[in-house]
């Protein structure tokens, strides 16, 4: 799982697709830095997703009506 994410992840494509969807204007400098942070996030996600989580596991926040 970990390597699948880091090997196939294309942060340039993600930025270019998501910026117009979110209505974000990016300069070349901010695009480059956003890509740096997306790469770091993908590394963090690869670590997190290396741990299998059962379907039945509850997330931490529980809404109390």
């Amino acid at each position: 799982m970990a390597n699948e994410i880091s090997d196939s992840f294309d942060p340039e494509a993600l930025v270019d697709a998501m910026a117009p969807l979110l209505g974000l204007r990016q300069t070349p400098e901010s695009r480059a830095q956003t890509i740096v942070h997306l790469r770091i996030a993908a590394e963090q996600a690869a670590k997190l997703l290396s741990i299998p989580i059962d379907d039945q596991e509850e997330p931490a926040p529980v809404f109390t009506p």
Binding site: L24, S30, T34, H37, L38, I40, K47, L48, E57, P59
Partner: protein, 467 residues
């Protein structure tokens, strides 16, 4: 009164005011003079609430003349990170954009509670923009500077809180801690800092960052003051839906019980791998003093850090999306581009992170069946130089801004209470902190251990000499 009183504790100031050895007005005037003289170098205060502080001081002096109860913080000055609402000020949260917000119509709950206990609010403090920061640098207000060496960072994002307390401007300051923003500046500025259990203290009137992980708490130069401020802020607040419905449990009454009988272990594995020798030596010193023989492992700490990292990016990105869309040039670029990246991440990662959070909580609570206190470094190194963008940890070059909180993030991820205690090593000009971590709702135990270490001279938080 003597100026030395301001280098001491809030407790000592309150005692002096109660006994008439000093008036609250004298204390405030002396404090304002110090801020005038030192704030240019420290970059700690962004607003000084002079007339409010003098009016409060006069009210305290008048109450004393009447023989009224002045409260445990009688006349003790305090200041707050500028994400806490202060009536009449715009809550800037370290940003340029928020200065256009309407002025706050009331104080944040914790500010009101410290004042109700006799504390005197002196002003608001510099911070990293929108609290997304571990450096204490701020592109709009300038950096807060480490009082022990002005060329170095305070750490952040509660950087002004660290600078104000270590610089002797106030004995107590409030900060917030999402991933380490109380514990990192406490470590780098040589202070005691308390990040209480998630949901313990009211966040009402504090500008948010990551709702899942935001905490508020005090920084101080003594454990007694930490407990005094914490106790004053306890109590149910219906205005904060994230606050847990738990009875207030003051920590001051048991502070002197000490560490005897408590089972203490140091955290190994992840918590020793990326630390510089100075960080490990600090834990060694504390562990030696407490006669700690056992090492414990939090097997998934690295993943816990990753999960906290992703939750922060996504919740932070979502919180600021509209501002990122309409005001991108008014952000600190270092903060903006992290938030933009966060707004673009897959929701599945965060859903997984929140599920993992419950799992990691269960793993950690199992550990607390056999121990009462866990020790870990607070930061991987002493204060980096101002402007330093990268450092090398465990042979790998990393960005400073996101990675100073490497050891704090897994702990706040599951909301455990932590006292950061500062260690000074002979031959070093800068301090470094150790995290004293307790099970949920046991702030009292972490404070007892910190107090025992303070009594033994193992940890200490002196005012910096700014010469």
């Amino acid at each position: 009164m003597t100026p030395a009183l301001l280098d001491g504790s809030a407790h000592a100031i309150a005692t002096a005011v109660r006994t008439g050895a000093a008036s609250a007005r004298e204390i405030v005037q002396e404090t304002l003079g110090r801020i005038e003289a030192r704030n240019g170098a420290l970059g700690a205060f962004t607003d000084v609430t002079t007339s409010r502080a003098l009016a409060k001081a006069d009210a305290i002096d008048a109450a004393r003349a009447r023989g009224a109860d002045l409260g445990p913080l009688a006349g003790a000055p305090f200041a707050v990170k500028n994400l806490f609402d202060i009536e009449g000020l715009s809550t800037r949260a370290g940003s340029k954009i928020n200065r256009e917000r309407p002025r706050a119509s009331s104080d944040a709950t914790v500010v009101a509670r410290l004042e109700a206990a006799g504390g005197v609010l002196i002003g608001s403090l510099n911070m990293g923009e929108y609290a997304y920061d571990f450096t204490g640098e701020n592109v709009h207000d300038g950096p807060s500077r480490n009082p022990h060496d002005l060329k170095h960072m305070t750490g952040g994002s509660s950087g002004g809180s660290g600078a104000a307390v270590a610089g002797g401007l106030v004995p107590v300051a409030l900060g917030s801690d999402t991933n380490g923003s109380i514990r990192v500046p406490s470590s780098l500025c040589g202070l005691f800092g308390l990040k209480p259990t998630y949901g313990r203290l009211s966040r009402a009137g504090a500008f948010p960052f990551v709702a899942s992980l935001d905490h508020v708490g005090p920084l101080a130069r003594s454990v007694g003051d930490l407990a005094l401020a914490y106790d004053a802020m306890l109590g149910r607040d219906e205005a904060d839906p994230a606050q847990a419905d738990r009875p207030a449990a003051p920590a001051s009454p048991t502070l002197e019980v000490g560490a005897k009988g408590l089972r203490v272990a140091r955290l190994g594995g992840y918590f020793s791998r990326s630390a510089e020798p100075g960080a490990i030596a600090a834990v060694d010193a504390v562990a030696r003093a407490l006669k700690v023989a056992q090492t414990a492992e939090l097997a998934d700490a690295e993943q816990a850090r990753s999960a906290a990292y992703l939750i922060s990016m996504v919740e932070g990105g979502a919180l600021h999306l509209e501002r990122l869309r309409t005001r991108p040039n008014d952000f600190d670029p270092d903060v903006r581009d992290r938030l933009v990246a966060g707004a673009m991440l897959p929701g599945a990662w965060v859903a997984q992170a929140q599920k993992f959070r419950r799992r990691f909580r269960a793993e950690t609570l199992a550990l607390f069946r056999d121990v009462d206190i866990l020790l870990a470094p607070a930061t991987p190194c002493r204060a980096p130089r101002l402007g330093q963008k990268t450092f090398v940890l465990d042979g790998k070059e990393m960005l400073v801004r996101p990675n100073l909180g490497l050891f704090t993030q897994p702990i706040s991820f599951i909301g455990l209470p932590v006292v950061t205690a500062p260690v000074w090593t002979e031959g070093e000009s800068l301090p470094i902190g150790v995290q004293i971590i307790a099970a949920p709702w046991r702030e009292d135990l972490a404070l007892r251990v910190a107090s025992a270490l303070e009594q033994g001279g193992v940890v200490r938080a002196p005012v910096a000499s700014l010469s």
